[in-house]
Symmetry: C2
Subunit: 443 residues, 2 copies
């Protein structure tokens, strides 16, 4: 008689319930694959009485996930509660402390405490694993790909669309010419955005995921604090239209790349060429691309969220535990991870989109051009669509209206662009500081 793998499942929200359902639905095949049953023998959740549509009568119940982590009958601890501190953290730490393998969907927890947790897991004689496929890009197997499929490659960049909420909003803004607030409201109505959407739209969720991808790709310790973060709330339909005209789309990307003096980590709205694979990822889909020396580029596309997609990744990690496949948390022993060394973002080299409002009078454009030249910035294109003078002023002298102008720079540095923007903003011909969006060079 083969012993089953006994799972302690902490969290019975959308993902937790989906884990229970998939384990049931796929029971025969999972058992055939690993040679033993996988059973959830204990769970924890806050509200015991709630009807979740699943039969929990044979399962031990805990109110506190830390108590579940101390249940001596379980072989693996699954954490799908969420939150970087609080009950999830205490429970995961307790599970690791007693030598239980952990499977988690909690990107915030790992982005903050992943280094310490990985070290604690590996301090055990047997070495235990922390599976977190579900924490990055939902059902896309990017964690396994970086952890196990690419050791023969020196990775130069990993980037992707890691937040479906933002991509849904940007896609609708582009397709329908709507503004950000309208699309956010739509996303909320459809359940793609939270009531408080800050975490998604301001880029923090993407940053947590990026921090984990960086650790996997470059073998450096996770450092979510070192990420430049800009969200999408300032993107306007005018930016999207201008990008379109110039051959680009705007996506919220997380990008980690090796630069001369370290690793650059950035989350920001990014102009990507329409011809690139990443430009064509629409709606709530996620995509992750990996650039490396041996492979060039590989791209993985799929659902980045949703109960069953996330549960699919949890179950892949459970199979690793069930079959005794041990893989260090970030693909290398924690002791072999290098300290994270941030590349200076000021040195980031790339093209930039600048959109500004200037007074429509002689010399205004020359002023802008002079500041760009003073900072050594060459311009690839300038687009100025003159607004027609108002119809109620026929025959009037050319009115002094404010006109939008869009500049695309050739490759330059962040430092130079910021300095030029500062100088331009101080000019009286300019109404307000220029809007800047970075352009990502893609094949």
């Amino acid at each position: 008689m083969v012993e089953p793998l006994r799972v302690g499942l902490a969290g019975l929200g959308t993902v937790g319930i989906a884990v229970l359902r998939l384990l049931e639905r796929r029971r025969a095949d999972l058992e055939a694959r690993c040679g033993r049953p996988i059973v959830v023998s204990a769970v924890s959740a806050r509200s015991r009485g709630k009807d979740r549509g699943v039969d929990l009568s044979d399962v031990t119940w805990y109110d506190d996930p830390a108590d579940l982590a101390h249940d001596n009958s379980i072989d693996v601890f699954v954490e799908v509660i969420g939150g970087e501190d609080g009950p999830a953290r205490r429970a995961v730490e307790a599970a690791i402390a007693r030598g239980l393998p952990v499977v988690t969907a909690n990107k915030a927890l790992l982005a903050r405490h992943g280094n310490a947790l990985a070290r604690a897991a590996e301090a055990h004689d047997t070495g235990i694993g922390i599976g977190f496929e579900a924490a990055v890009a939902g059902g896309i197997p990017i964690v396994r790909t970086l952890r196990e499929a690419l050791p023969g490659n020196a990775i130069s960049r990993v980037y992707g669309i890691l937040n479906g909420t933002c991509n849904y909003i940007l896609t609708r803004m582009e397709r329908e010419g709507l503004d950000f607030a309208t699309c956010l409201a739509e996303a909320q109505r459809l359940g793609y955005a939270e009531a408080d959407p800050t975490f998604d739209i301001e880029g923090y969720d993407t940053a947590h995921k990026l921090a984990l991808l960086t650790g996997l790709a470059f073998g450096t310790e996770v450092d979510a604090d070192a990420i430049l973060i800009e969200g999408i709330s300032a993107i306007t339909p005018e930016d999207i239209a201008a990008a379109d005209e110039l051959g680009y789309r705007i996506k919220l990307l997380g990008v980690a790349s090796r630069a001369g003096d370290g690793i650059e980590q950035r989350v920001h709205p990014t102009m990507v060429p329409k011809s690139s694979a990443i430009a064509r990822i629409d709606g709530v889909l996620n995509a992750v691309a990996v650039d490396s020396d041996a492979l060039g580029e590989i791209v993985l596309v799929g659902p980045g969220a949703g109960g069953e997609a996330t549960a699919s990744s949890v179950i892949a990690d459970l199979m690793d535990v069930a079959t005794g496949r041990h893989i260090p948390t970030f693909g290398r022993p924690a002791s072999a991870m290098q300290p994270y060394s941030a590349a200076r973002i000021a040195r980031h080299a790339g093209g930039y989109y600048l959109r500004l409002l200037i007074e429509d009078r002689p010399g205004a454009l020359a002023t802008i051009a002079r500041h760009m030249a003073d900072h050594g910035i060459s311009l690839e294109s300038i687009v100025q669509r003159r607004r027609a003078p108002r119809a109620d002023a026929p025959g009037a002298a050319v009115p002094s209206v404010v006109q939008p102008i869009v500049l695309i720079t050739y490759e330059t540095t962040e430092e130079a662009v910021r300095a030029a923007i500062g100088a331009i903003a101080a000019e009286s011909v300019v109404a307000g500081p220029p809007k800047m969006i970075r352009i990502e060079k893609l094949a």
Copy 2:
């Protein structure tokens, strides 16, 4: 002192040399990841004197790969010779017989003998693995993805562009309006096609890869003989232009899907909607898509061939061996693989493109339409571009020229289409049998 993993490398062609180079280039990181050095201690190849640009002075040389497989100093046998029988097969069988793990890039060998080899590998007490990431889609980690990332999913279809030679030819035909022969010659000149291109262009290479994907996706024994195979040599610029006009591109796809009574395996030129992810894969790139219940669709894109891309996958499999991660060859114990049961291709349901030449006289189109209706086939579109009467016959009666006509059917069965084609071909108004291309329904 940690023991290194000693590799016996059979085959020093493009892939074998790339394996040596990557192991050298990535030595420090590989050792950090698995805790011990990976060294090639013995090799086999036919021509010992040839200068391959790598230092083999410390390496034991064998002329026969089977002798290498018997070298007692090696821990793993890597086969990058190729060929479904002959030296590669003998050597792999010898390695497995003595309990050595095997890593191979040999799709033909596994498509023919994979079931027996997997059983032999698992007959050992310890169970040894056969890693074959490199055998399907080069550097794309689709083998690991199907084997390890998706156990929580019931897969309904796996399909992809699995042959870069064909995709290169079709891409050039489409972009430049050139015919097949011209693009094949170009592919040969650039080294993307062999001197004898039959194996690639007639779909056999795709079929071998598909057979392996089928086994991984559905847990059924590999059966390459059960695949419907059509190559791309009959595709004309007219087909590509007609597809374009109707919103499709033509790709050589391998498709395995679950049908009512079994698994359907097909390799053929396929019309795919321009909006689909797979339609946008150009040139020598490969792409594989997996449709399943929990995930919907995931798509992996990357380089499907080339020495370093293939070597990257070999090294990923070597790392599994070096770290003692054992995974059954097809993701399940060989004893748990189900017999392959072919779905009847006659029952394949889908849309079809038909292109035929009919005499331009009254009643011709009615004849075609009647045969379609007689077989229960509804038409989604009919495109007839009348060729202008010849300019040197002004004022002549409408000449009896042959006109091309393109029909797109709604979903019907292969059986009905074939019967309709047979009936139409027998009509005197038709010049030659209709050209038929299957349409794949994609999201």
